[in-house]
C-alpha cells in the first residue's frame, strides 16, 4: 500500500461514526464518504452519482453482470443473451454461468485472437444474429493474466448502436492506462483499491445514471439503492486517495514500468531463447510480462524462483492453490502444455531495476532445472485427453 494511503486511513480509523447516522459523528463520516466519492469520480472521469462503493472487484463484477441482466430482462423478457469475451475474469464468467443455471440466461463466449484481443467485428457479428435478445455485454479493459488491452471504447460504440449496455472490468487498467469512464462510453465499470496501492476489500462499480441494475445485497439501500451495507469509511477513503494518486502518477508510472518490463522480457528471451511472450506486444499493460517456457512446469518454475526471492504467478490463483491451465491462454489458442508452462511477472510501484536484474540472473538456470524436472515427470500422462482436463474449455461450461 502507498504510504500516503496508510496514513490517511489510519487517521480515519480513529474517528467514530457510521456514515448512515444522522448525528454529528455520522455526518462527519458521511462527509468523508461523499468527498471520497467525488475524488474517485474525478480521478476516473465520472460523476459522483455514478460511483457505487462495493467490497471489491468481484462484488462489482457480480453486481454489474447479474444486476444489469436482471433489470434488462425484466424490461423485456426476450433479453437472455450475455455476450462476454472468452478471456474475462472468473468473477464475470462465473456470474454469467450462474445466471444461465438459475435465471435462464444464455451466455455466449466471444472468441479472441492469438493476442487475446476481442475484435470489434466479432462483437458486432454476435450482436447482429439477434440484437433484441442481448441483455448485456461484458468485456474487460485489460486482461489480468496476459495484459492485453481491449478496444473498449470501440466495442462500446458497437454496443450502443443497438442500445445494449456494456460493462468493463477495469481493475487492471486504472493507474496504468488512461481510463475515463465518460470518454470510454462504457455503461458500467469495475475498479478495486488493492490494485492501486489501496486497501484490500473495497472497490466500486461505476454505473451510468440511466442504467438500471437490480441489487444483489438488500438492506439499507446506502448506495443509490443498488447496494446496501454500512460503508467502510476508511476503506472508501483509501480507495479514493489511492485512485487519485495512481491516476496523477499514471504517465510517469506507465513509462517507468514499460521500460522495466521491456527490459525484463528482452532479457528473459535472451537467456531462454525458446521462451515466448503471450499477449499483445504493443497494447499491453505496462507492468505485465507473461511468458511461456517450453518443457517447463509452471509449478516448478514458481517454486524455484520463490526460493530465490522472486515472486511470480502461474495462471490465476485459485482456492485450492492448484494452478489450473489458464482459460485465457487456452482461449488464445495455446495448448495445455504451453498453458501449464507459463509465468506472469507483475511489475508495480515497488518494482526496481534490481528486481529485473535478479530475475534475469536466475531465469536461465531455473528454466534449465525446471526443464529437467519436466522431462523427468511429464504431468500430463501419455495418452491423457487434454480436452477433458481442468476447466475444460470455458465454452463448454457456459
Amino acid at each position: 500500500m502507498l504510504e500516503e494511503v496508510i496514513a490517511a486511513m489510519a487517521a480515519a480509523m480513529t474517528e467514530v461514526g457510521n456514515a448512515s447516522s444522522l448525528h454529528t459523528s455520522g455526518r462527519r463520516a458521511r462527509r468523508v464518504v461523499e468527498e471520497s466519492r467525488e475524488r474517485l469520480a474525478a480521478a476516473l472521469g465520472a460523476r459522483p452519482s455514478e460511483v457505487i462503493f462495493t467490497g471489491g472487484g468481484t462484488e462489482s463484477d457480480n453486481l454489474a453482470v447479474k444486476g444489469i441482466y436482471l433489470a434488462r430482462r425484466a424490461a423485456d423478457p426476450r433479453r437472455r443473451r450475455i455476450l462476454v469475451s472468452a478471456v474475462e475474469h472468473h468473477a464475470v464468467l462465473d456470474s454469467a454461468h450462474w445466471l444461465r443455471t438459475h435465471e435462464g440466461a444464455a451466455p455466449e463466449l466471444l472468441p479472441v485472437d492469438a493476442r487475446g484481443v476481442l475484435e470489434v467485428g466479432t462483437l458486432a457479428e454476435a450482436i447482429e444474429t439477434d440484437p433484441s435478445s442481448v441483455a448485456l455485454i461484458s468485456v474487460m479493459w485489460a486482461n489480468n493474466e496476459v495484459g492485453t488491452v481491449q478496444p473498449v471504447a470501440e466495442l462500446a460504440r458497437v454496443a450502443h448502436r443497438y442500445g445494449i449496455p456494456l460493462h468493463s472490468d477495469a481493475v487492471q487498467a486504472v493507474g496504468t492506462l488512461p481510463v475515463s469512464f465518460a470518454e470510454s462510453g462504457v455503461d458500467a465499470m469495475t475498479v478495486t483499491a488493492h490494485k492501486l496501492g489501496g486497501p484490500y476489500g473495497v472497490g466500486a462499480l461505476l454505473l451510468k445514471r440511466d442504467v438500471a441494475c437490480v441489487p444483489l445485497l438488500h438492506g439499507g439501500g446506502q448506495e443509490r439503492d443498488v447496494r446496501s451495507g454500512t460503508l467502510d469509511t476508511p476503506g472508501v477513503l483509501g480507495l479514493a486517495l489511492a485512485a487519485e494518486l495512481a491516476v496523477s502518477r499514471r504517465a510517469e508510472t506507465a513509462s517507468r514500468l514499460t521500460r522495466l518490463r521491456d527490459k525484463l522480457i528482452e532479457g528473459v528471451l535472451r537467456q531462454v531463447p525458446d521462451a515466448t511472450v503471450n499477449g499483445d506486444r504493443i497494447n499491453r499493460l505496462p507492468g505485465n510480462a507473461h511468458l511461456s517456457f517450453p518443457g517447463c512446469e509452471g509449478d516448478s518454475l514458481l517454486m524455484l524462483l520463490d526460493a530465490r526471492g522472486i515472486e511470480c504467478s502461474t495462471g490465476s490463483a485459485c482456492s485450492a492453490g492448484v494452478a489450473q491451465a489458464s482459460h485465457v491462454l487456452l482461449a488464445m489458442g495455446a495448448d495445455e502444455d504451453r498453458a501449464r508452462g507459463s509465468l506472469r511477472f507483475s511489475l508495480g510501484h515497488t518494482s526496481t531495476e534490481a528486481d529485473v536484474a535478479a530475475v534475469l540472473e536466475a531465469i536461465g538456470s531455473v528454466t534449465e532445472r525446471a526443464r529437467r524436472a519436466g522431462l523427468a515427470t511429464p504431468t500430463s500422462a501419455p495418452g491423457s485427453n487434454t480436452l477433458a482436463f481442468g476447466s475444460t474449455s470455458m465454452a463448454g461450461r457456459l
Binding site: 514458481l302 485450492a320 524436472a373 504431468t379 500422462a381
Partner: protein, 383 residues
C-alpha cells in the same frame, strides 16, 4: 539436506515434516492435488485431496514455518492409479491402489521431480522404519504400512525418509498436539481416497458398466448370475445371491474370477484355501537370496502373516509355497516377504493353487519346495 515433505493434510505427514525441520534439514512442503474436481470440504473419514485437506496442510506448513506449494498430479493419478485400478478389476484382479500410488506417484512422479529440482529426498508420514536401505515394520503394528511400501526399489528408497516408523500413532497425535498442529485430532483416513462414498462396486459399475455373466461352481455348474464379474473379490461371501445351497449347507465364497468368460467361480471355505502362490514383477529391497529360501509372507494390507518357501528366477517370477493354507489370496495383490519385521521384497500375485493336493506335477520344481510334514509355519532360514 534439502527435502520435500509430502503433506496430505493429515496428522502423520504433518508430524513427519515437523521432525524433518527438527533434524535441521531445509524442508519444503508440497501437497499433491490428486482429484480433478476436489470437494470443498472433507466428508467423513473417507476421501482426501479436498480443498479443506490442502488448507490443513498449508496451515501446518505455516506453523512449521516452511514454504508450501500445491502440485497438480491429478492427470498422472488418473492414469497411473485410478485407470489402473479399474483395468485391474476388469482383468479379474484385486488391485491395491495405495501401493500403486506409492510406486507411481509419491516415489516416482513426485520423487523424480523433487530430485530434478535439486532436492535430496522425499519425506512422508508413512508408518514404517527405513534405516540404511532396510525397510521394516512400524513399531505400531496396527498402523504399519511396510506392506504398501514394499513395491519400492532400493533406488527409490534411497531417497525416501519415513520419520514416523519408531512411533505409535498415539505418540504421533500427542506430538502434533504439543506442536500446535491443528490436525492433531483429525480422523484417520480409511478406504480408497478416490471413492469418496466408499462404494467400490458402484464406482466400478460406473466405469465399466453392467456386464452380466454366470456364477459357477468348480465343476462348471451354473448356480446364479451377476451383473459384472469385476464387482467380486476372492474370498467374498456377501452379495452372491445364490439360491441353491451346498449339500452340507456351507456358505459359498468367491474362489476366482475368469475375466475371459466373465465368470465368477464359487466354492466352500475349504476350496478357498490357497497353498501355492505364483507371482511376477518381483522387487528386492534386501539383496536377492541366491536360491530358494524360507521367510514370512503377507498377501494383503493388514492381512495375516504366514511362513512360506520362496523360489524365484531372474525374470521376476516367483513362487511361494505356504506353510499353512490361507484364504482370500487374490491375484493383483502384492505378496510381501519379510524376515521378522524386515522387508525382503515383494511381487505381484498372478495365480493361486490349493495346497497340497493340486500340486501334482504342476511344474518348475514347486513340488520339491513343499514343506514336508504337518502344516506348521516354517522356521526362519533366511538369508
Amino acid at each position: 539436506m534439502k527435502v520435500l515433505a509430502a503433506m496430505s493434510g493429515g496428522v502423520d505427514s504433518a508430524v513427519a515434516a515437523a521432525r524433518a525441520v527438527d533434524a535441521g534439514w531445509e524442508v519444503t512442503g508440497v501437497h499433491l492435488a490428486l482429484a480433478r474436481e476436489p470437494a470443498t470440504l472433507r466428508a467423513g473419514a473417507r476421501g482426501c485431496c479436498s480443498v479443506e485437506d490442502a488448507h490443513d496442510a498449508r496451515r501446518c506448513a505455516d506453523v512449521l514455518g516452511i514454504p508450501f506449494y500445491v502440485w497438480d498430479f491429478a492427470a498422472r493419478f488418473q492414469a497411473d492409479v485410478i485407470e489402473d485400478f479399474v483395468a485391474e478389476y476388469a482383468a479379474g484382479h484385486t488391485p491395491n491402489p495405495c501401493l500403486r500410488c506409492n510406486e507411481k506417484i509419491k516415489f516416482s512422479g513426485l520423487l523424480d521431480r523433487a530430485l530434478a529440482l535439486g532436492f535430496d529426498a522425499v519425506v512422508t508420514g508413512h508408518h514404517a522404519r527405513l534405516t540404511d536401505g532396510r525397510l521394516s515394520r512400524s513399531v505400531d503394528p496396527a498402523k504399519d504400512q511396510s506392506y504398501v511400501l514394499a513395491v519400492l526399489r532400493p533406488d527409490q528408497l534411497a531417497h525416501a525418509v519415513f520419520p514416523l516408523g519408531h512411533s505409535t500413532k498415539k505418540q504421533v497425535r500427542a506430538e502434533a498436539a504439543l506442536r500446535g498442529l491443528s490436525v492433531a485430532d483429525k480422523p484417520d483416513s480409511h478406504d480408497i481416497c478416490f471413492i469418496a462414498d466408499g462404494d467400490t462396486q458402484g464406482f466400478l459399475a460406473r466405469h465399466l458398466g453392467e456386464r452380466p455373466g454366470e456364477i459357477v461352481d468348480a465343476s462348471g455348474a451354473v448356480l446364479g448370475s451377476h451383473s459384472g464379474a469385476f464387482g467380486f473379490t476372492v474370498g467374498q461371501r456377501r452379495g452372491l445371491n445364490i439360491r441353491t445351497s451346498t449339500t452340507t449347507g456351507e456358505p459359498r465364497y468367491v474362489l476366482s474370477i475368469r475375466p475371459s468368460s466373465n465368470t465368477v467361480v464359487v466354492g466352500t471355505a475349504r476350496d478357498l484355501e490357497v497353498g501355492l502362490i505364483r507371482c511376477q514383477r518381483s522387487v528386492w529391497i534386501s539383496a536377492r537370496p541366491a536360491g530358494a529360501f524360507d521367510c514370512l509372507v503377507q498377501m494383503r494390507a493388514h492381512g495375516m502373516v504366514c511362513g512360506a518357501r520362496i523360489t524365484h528366477d531372474d525374470d521376476g517370477e516367483l513362487t511361494a509355497v505356504l506353510a499353512v493354507p490361507q484364504r482370500g489370496v487374490a491375484a493383483g495383490q502384492a505378496l510381501v516377504m519379510y524376515e521378522g519385521d524386515v522387508v525382503i521384497g515383494s511381487a505381484t500375485i498372478t495365480a493361486t493353487q490349493a495346497w497340497p493336493t493340486s500340486f501334482g506335477g504342476s511344474s518348475d520344481g514347486v513340488a520339491e519346495a513343499v514343506p514336508a510334514g504337518p502344516a506348521q509355519p516354517v522356521k526362519q532360514r533366511y538369508p
